[in-house]
C-alpha cells in the first residue's frame, strides 16, 4: 500500500479522499491555490503544497506544478478527485511517466470515453445501445439545421468536448436553431476551446440512470447498482438517489451487465460510471465518466462500501473481492447538492462569505462538505458547496429524513439550492416516483408558498429595528475610541521585541 498520496483537487472531494486515506493510515498531501490557503482540505491534510495563483489554470490545472508538488512531497500516487485534471489523459500519462501511480483509469480508456463522438463509436462496436443521432460533430448552424431534418426535433446540442452541463442546449423547432447554436457553441469554445457541437434526438420523459462500475488491474469487473439523477437543471444534477424507483431487479442486472461490457470494451480499470438515458423501459448509453462521480456516496450508503478505498486499493494492485459482485442494495439513499445559486432567480450563481452556518446531524445523515465560517465563495471555482446525504430503510423514510435534515441546515452568506430541493422532496409527484429529467425545469418556484408570513414579517421588522439601534450605539462608541486612540499614539511608544523602542 502507498505510504503517501497527493490529492490534486480542492473542496469537498479533496476532503473526501483525505478522510479515507487517513483511515487507511496513508499520509495525505493537499495542494492549494493562493485563494484556498485557508481552505479546509489544506488544514485536514498531513502536508500541503502551495501551487500559487488564483484561477484554476494557474493552480489546479497546471500539470507541471501538481506533478512537481507530488515529487517534492515524496508522494507515491495521485488521486485526481472529479473535475480539474481527473479526465485528462495527458495528465494521467505524465503522472505515470514521473514514476507515480495514477489512482484512476488507464489514459487510453479516458481517451476512448473523453470525446462523446469517439465513445459512441466504441459503444456501437461493443453492441451497447446508443441514442439516435449524428456520429460526427457539426461546426455551424446551417449544417446543424440540415442534419436536424434527418434526426427529427426535439434535438439536443452538446459540446463535442463537453461535460458538466456546459455548452448544452435543447432545440424544439428549426427557428430556434440559430440562437441556440450560437450560445452553445460560444460556451463550448470558452470552456473547452472547441466550438463543435454534437447533435442527437432528445428523448421523451427520459430518466437519467447511471451504473457504478469497478474494474481491477487483473481483468475483474463488477457493477454496483444504479443511481437515479433525473432531478437536474441544464444537465446540472440537484438530487440523486440509489436505487431508482424505475428500475426492477431484472433491469438492474441487465444494465449492470451492459455497463461492465462497455467498460471491458475499452480496457477500463478503477472506478467509473456508465450513464444511460432511460425512456419507457428502453435505455441508451449516454456517456461514461472515467472518474469518481460527485454522487458516489448514495451508492456507498446502499451497498455498504467505501468507493475511495476501493479506488486506492485497485491502484495499489489489489484484486476485487470475490463477494463484491454479489453485493445487494440495502435500504435507500438520497443526496442533495447544496450549490451557491439562487433557485428563485433562475439559479444564477451567488457569491459571498459564509458566516451563518448550521449543520444537520442525527441518525442516517452524512454531510460531505468543505464548508467553514469565513469561507469565501467566488466565481473561480465550481458553485457546489456541500452534499447532504441520508440513508433510511426505504424511500418514503429516506425522503422524510432528507426533509428533516434540510430543515436543520442553514448555509448563509450566499443563496443556495437547498430550498428548491426541499420543494422537490415535498412534491407529491416526486414522492410517488413520477418524474423525469424535465421535472425541475417544469417546477414553478415563483409561486409563494403558504407559510409563517406573519412571524417572518415581525422578525424582519425586529431585525432591522435592532440593527439600527446597534449601529446608533456602536458608531458613537467607535468615534469616541478613535479620538482617544489617536491621542494616545502620539504620546506613547510601544516597543516591539525587535525594535529598540523610544520615540523618534
Amino acid at each position: 500500500m502507498f505510504r503517501r498520496i497527493l490529492i490534486a483537487n480542492r473542496g469537498e472531494i479533496a476532503l473526501r479522499v483525505i478522510r479515507t486515506a487517513r483511515e487507511m493510515g496513508i499520509d495525505t498531501v493537499a495542494v492549494y491555490s493562493e485563494f484556498d490557503r485557508k481552505a479546509l482540505h489544506v488544514r485536514m491534510a498531513h502536508r500541503a503544497v502551495a501551487l500559487g495563483g488564483n484561477t484554476p489554470r494557474e493552480s489546479y490545472l497546471d500539470m507541471d506544478k501538481v506533478i512537481a508538488a507530488a515529487k517534492s512531497s515524496g508522494s507515491e500516487a495521485i488521486h485526481p478527485g472529479y473535475g480539474f485534471l481527473s479526465e485528462n489523459a495527458v495528465f494521467a500519462e505524465r503522472v505515470m511517466q514521473a514514476g507515480l501511480k495514477w489512482i484512476g483509469p488507464p489514459p487510453a480508456a479516458i481517451r476512448a470515453m473523453g470525446d462523446k463522438i469517439t465513445s459512441r463509436r466504441h459503444m456501437r462496436t461493443a453492441k451497447v445501445p446508443v441514442v439516435p443521432g449524428l456520429v460526427d460533430p457539426v461546426d455551424d448552424a446551417k449544417a446543424a439545421r440540415e442534419a436536424a431534418r434527418e434526426i427529427g426535433y426535439p434535438i439536443a446540442l452538446k459540446a463535442a468536448a463537453g461535460g458538466g452541463g456546459k455548452g448544452i442546449r435543447v432545440v424544439h423547432a428549426e427557428k430556434e436553431m440559430e440562437g441556440a447554436f450560437r450560445t452553445a457553441s460560444g460556451e463550448a469554445l470558452s470552456s473547452f476551446g472547441d466550438g463543435r457541437l454534437y447533435m442527437e434526438r432528445y428523448l421523451d420523459s427520459p430518466r437519467h440512470i447511471e451504473i457504478q462500475v469497478l474494474f481491477d488491474e487483473h481483468g475483474n469487473g463488477v457493477s454496483l447498482g444504479e443511481r437515479e439523477c433525473s432531478i437536474q437543471r441544464r444537465h446540472q444534477k440537484l438530487i440523486e438517489e440509489c436505487p431508482s424507483v424505475a428500475i426492477t431487479p431484472q433491469v438492474r442486472a441487465r444494465m449492470g451487465e451492459i455497463a461492465v461490457q462497455a467498460g471491458r470494451a475499452i480496457g477500463y480499470q478503477n472506478a467509473g460510471t456508465v450513464e444511460f438515458l432511460w425512456s419507457q423501459g428502453e435505455f441508451f448509453f449516454l456517456e461514461m465518466n472515467t472518474r469518481l462521480q460527485v454522487e458516489h456516496p448514495v451508492t456507498e450508503m446502499v451497498y455498504g462500501l467505501d468507493l475511495v478505498r476501493e479506488q486506492i486499493e485497485i491502484a495499489a494492485g489489489k484484486r476485487l473481492d470475490a463477494g463484491m459482485g454479489k453485493l445487494q442494495p440495502r435500504g435507500w439513499a438520497i443526496e442533495v447538492r447544496i450549490n451557491a445559486e439562487d433557485p428563485f432567480n433562475g439559479f444564477v450563481p451567488s457569491t459571498g462569505t459564509i458566516r451563518n452556518l448550521r449543520a444537520p446531524g442525527g441518525p442516517g445523515v452524512r454531510l460531505d462538505a468543505a464548508l467553514y465560517r469565513g469561507m469565501e465563495v467566488g466565481l473561480n471555482y465550481d458553485p457546489m458547496l456541500a452534499k447532504l446525504i441520508v440513508w433510511a430503510e426505504n424511500r418514503p423514510m429516506a425522503i422524510q429524513r432528507m426533509i428533516r435534515a434540510l430543515q436543520e441546515l442553514n448555509v448563509g452568506g450566499v443563496r443556495t439550492s437547498a430550498p428548491a430541493a426541499l420543494i422537490v422532496l415535498e412534491d407529491q409527484r416526486f414522492q410517488r416516483g413520477e418524474f423525469d429529467t424535465h421535472f425541475l425545469v417544469g417546477l414553478d418556484l415563483s409561486q409563494p408558498r403558504e407559510g409563517e408570513d406573519v412571524i417572518v414579517a415581525a422578525a424582519a421588522g425586529l431585525f432591522r429595528h435592532l440593527a439600527a439601534r446597534r449601529r446608533a450605539l456602536s458608531s458613537d462608541n467607535l468615534a469616541r475610541k478613535a479620538w482617544s486612540d489617536r491621542a494616545r499614539s502620539r504620546t506613547t511608544s510601544y516597543p516591539t521585541p525587535g525594535s529598540r523602542g523610544g520615540t523618534r
Binding site: F344, N356, R358, Q407, G412, R449, G451, E452, V454, H465
Partner: protein
C-alpha cells in the same frame, strides 16, 4: 417605528415600539406576543411566538433580507414610511423602463443591442457569462435603449448597471 414588510408579495405593517428597554410588536394592527433573541450575531435567531418555537436564520440589510424557517426561504423587503413614499414616486416616474442591472457577477460576452434601438419585451440585449454558463439578459418591457453602460469583455459585479431602457 413603523415598517412595511413585504413577504412573498404580501405587505404587512409591522409596528415596533420600545418602552423602557421592552420591545412590543404589532402586525397589521394586532399585538403579537413574540420573543426574538439573536444567538450568535451571524444570523441564527431564536424566536418564540404564541406557544410555537422557531430556529430562524435571517440575513441581509435594512431593505432586503432572506429569512429561513425549517429550510424554506422567505424573501423579504422592508421599507419605513419615508422610503415607501419615495419608492412609490420613483415607480410612477419610470413607466416600466429604467435601469437594467446585472443580477450576478460575470463577464459581458456580447452586446446584442445598440443605443437608440427599439426593443420588444423578452428580446435579448446582451450575453453575460458567469461560472462558464452563458446567460441572455432580456428586455423586461417594450422600449428604447437609452444608454449602454458596459463594453464587451467587461467584468461586472452583482448589481452593476448594464443598460438603461426608456419605457414606451
Amino acid at each position: 417605528m413603523k415598517y412595511f414588510v413585504t413577504v412573498n408579495g404580501r405587505t404587512h405593517e409591522v409596528q415596533v415600539r420600545e418602552r423602557l428597554g421592552e420591545l412590543t410588536v404589532e402586525v397589521n394592527g394586532k399585538p403579537l406576543d413574540i420573543a426574538y433573541e439573536e444567538v450568535d450575531n451571524l444570523g441564527q435567531v431564536a424566536v418564540r411566538c404564541e406557544g410555537k418555537s422557531f430556529g430562524l436564520s435571517i440575513e441581509g440589510d435594512d431593505h432586503r433580507l432572506g429569512a429561513v424557517i425549517a429550510g424554506h426561504l422567505y424573501a423579504v423587503e422592508i421599507e419605513d414610511e419615508r422610503e415607501r413614499a419615495a419608492h412609490a414616486a420613483e415607480r410612477t416616474a419610470s413607466k416600466g423602463g429604467g435601469m437594467i442591472k446585472s443580477i450576478m457577477p460575470g463577464v459581458v460576452v456580447k452586446l446584442l443591442a445598440q443605443v437608440g434601438q427599439a426593443v420588444e419585451k423578452g428580446q435579448p440585449l446582451l450575453i453575460l457569462e458567469a461560472m462558464k454558463m452563458q446567460n441572455e439578459i432580456v428586455a423586461p418591457s417594450d422600449g428604447t435603449v437609452q444608454a449602454i453602460h458596459v463594453k464587451e469583455r467587461d467584468a461586472v459585479g452583482s448589481g452593476a448597471k448594464l443598460l438603461t431602457l426608456k419605457g414606451n
